[in-house]
């Protein structure tokens, strides 16, 4: 990976103060904060490193 990490983070925002902090509880099997897209076996049968861009929550 060049210049970045293949990782998606969740961040908590305090709407009263604007303070932000990393959501440490959101993590993948590697135990590190965030979701790891690097070098993994994907359910549809491909192994490789993903690059995420647009991300949307369900309603």
């Amino acid at each position: 990976m060049t210049g970045s990490e293949n990782r998606l983070y969740l961040v908590k925002l305090d709407e009263a103060t604007g303070a932000i902090q990393l959501d440490m509880a959101f993590h993948d099997a590697d135990g590190k904060p965030g979701f790891n897209f690097a070098d993994r076996e994907w359910p549809y049968g491909w192994r490789g490193t993903g690059v995420p861009h647009g991300v949307v929550f369900s309603r």
């Binding site: 293949n6 925002l13 604007g18 959101f26 359910p43 490193t49 993903g50 647009g54 929550f57």
Partner: protein
């Protein structure tokens, strides 16, 4: 480096909309539109558990692969639409997919499209009050007068089945030579208007866009093209990308030059832009406004900066978060479902 994208997603306190019932609400998930870093595989959608009460919180639940070889996996809609039909593109392929995500663990591809009504390279997707999507297309097929310009595209209204409803060109003979390639937009139904930005996805023109446009929503008539305010640093206005409606009714535009342009009096004949803030560095990405806070991804500090825009003319930094020594922050999104401090 718009091609190097890592996602940041925010939990934000907000009230879930009543339209929620239109989707199958079981669990809570993140949909990450993903490409192959090596550009040998295909674009796919990753579904991740986003329910903090779940034992599998943060784990991958399923994927849906497309037949599109990764070129430059790019924008999705910014929030999940009420219909559960999500638009997402591979920009360099000029192709948009429409996903049916009403059953999150069993995502489906509804259809895909490329050029529409004479326009190509769709970029951003904003919902209209009628549920259709207003899409910014970077380029137009037609030449003629526009060939002598810096380039133009258009806005196209499309329904959830990928059918064209109407379209309009961003070309403006009053701005000969200007780069008028629509990047993103904000829909303002209360005043029957749309504000779009002009910024290029082509590397040679990354820093050529300096204008915004105002449209009438009801008939997609282009009302005005205007230059953004040039601030003291002479770069904060360059390459306007993401416009967002602020709490004061003004439109706040993030630029690739890491500025915030505040456009006021949009509903008047002479809207005015003002560069009100500049973040450090360049290549700032997709912002999110929550209440009177604007959250901005700032690659040079490998994280985020939050500014208070209670006084829109003088934003004030209230917090920042560095995520690592290398993280190239870009996309921010928000979670309308969860409430409280997250």
């Amino acid at each position: 480096m718009r091609r190097l994208l890592i996602a940041l997603v925010f939990f934000l306190g907000a009230t879930a909309h009543s339209q929620e019932k239109q989707t199958k609400a079981s669990g809570h998930y993140l949909f990450a539109w993903t490409g192959d870093d090596a550009k040998k595989g295909n674009d796919f959608l990753a579904v991740i558990d986003a329910d903090p009460g779940s034992a599998s919180y943060g784990n991958l639940m399923t994927t849906l692969v497309t037949d599109q070889p990764t070129m430059r996996v790019h924008h999705t809609e910014y929030v999940m639409p009420a219909s559960g039909m999500l638009f997402a593109n591979d920009h360099d392929a000029g192709r948009t997919f429409i996903f049916d995500l009403r059953d999150p663990l069993h995502p489906k591809i509804v259809t895909s499209f490329t050029d529409m009504d004479g326009y190509m390279h769709p970029h951003s997707y904003l919902r209209l009050p009628n549920g259709h999507v207003l899409v910014s297309f970077q380029h137009a097929h037609h030449g003629g007068m526009e060939e002598s310009m810096g380039g133009s595209g258009g806005l196209v209204e499309i329904d959830d089945q990928g059918k064209v409803i109407r379209s309009a060109s961003s070309a403006d003979p009053a701005f000969p030579g200007a780069l008028l390639t629509p990047y993103s937009l904000v829909v303002l139904p209360e005043i029957d208007q749309v504000v779009s930005t002009n910024s290029s996805m082509d590397e040679v023109n990354y820093f050529s866009g300096v204008t915004y446009q105002v449209w009438r929503l009801s008939d997609l008539k282009l009302l005005k093209t205007a230059n953004l305010d040039i601030g003291d640093n002479h770069y904060g206005h360059v390459s306007p990308e993401e416009p967002r409606l602020g709490p004061d009714g003004a439109v706040y535009v993030q630029t690739l030059g890491c500025g915030i342009e505040r456009i006021s009096a949009v509903d008047k004949d002479e809207p005015t832009s003002k560069l009100v803030y500049t973040f450090p560095g360049s290549f700032c990405g997709v912002p999110t406004i929550v209440g009177h806070y604007l959250v901005q991804s700032v690659p040079v500090m490998h994280g985020l900066i939050v500014v208070d825009i209670s006084n829109g003319m003088k934003p004030v930094e209230v917090s920042r978060l560095k995520l690592s020594d290398h993280f190239f922050s870009h996309w921010t999104g928000w979670d309308a479902r969860r409430t409280g401090l997250w």
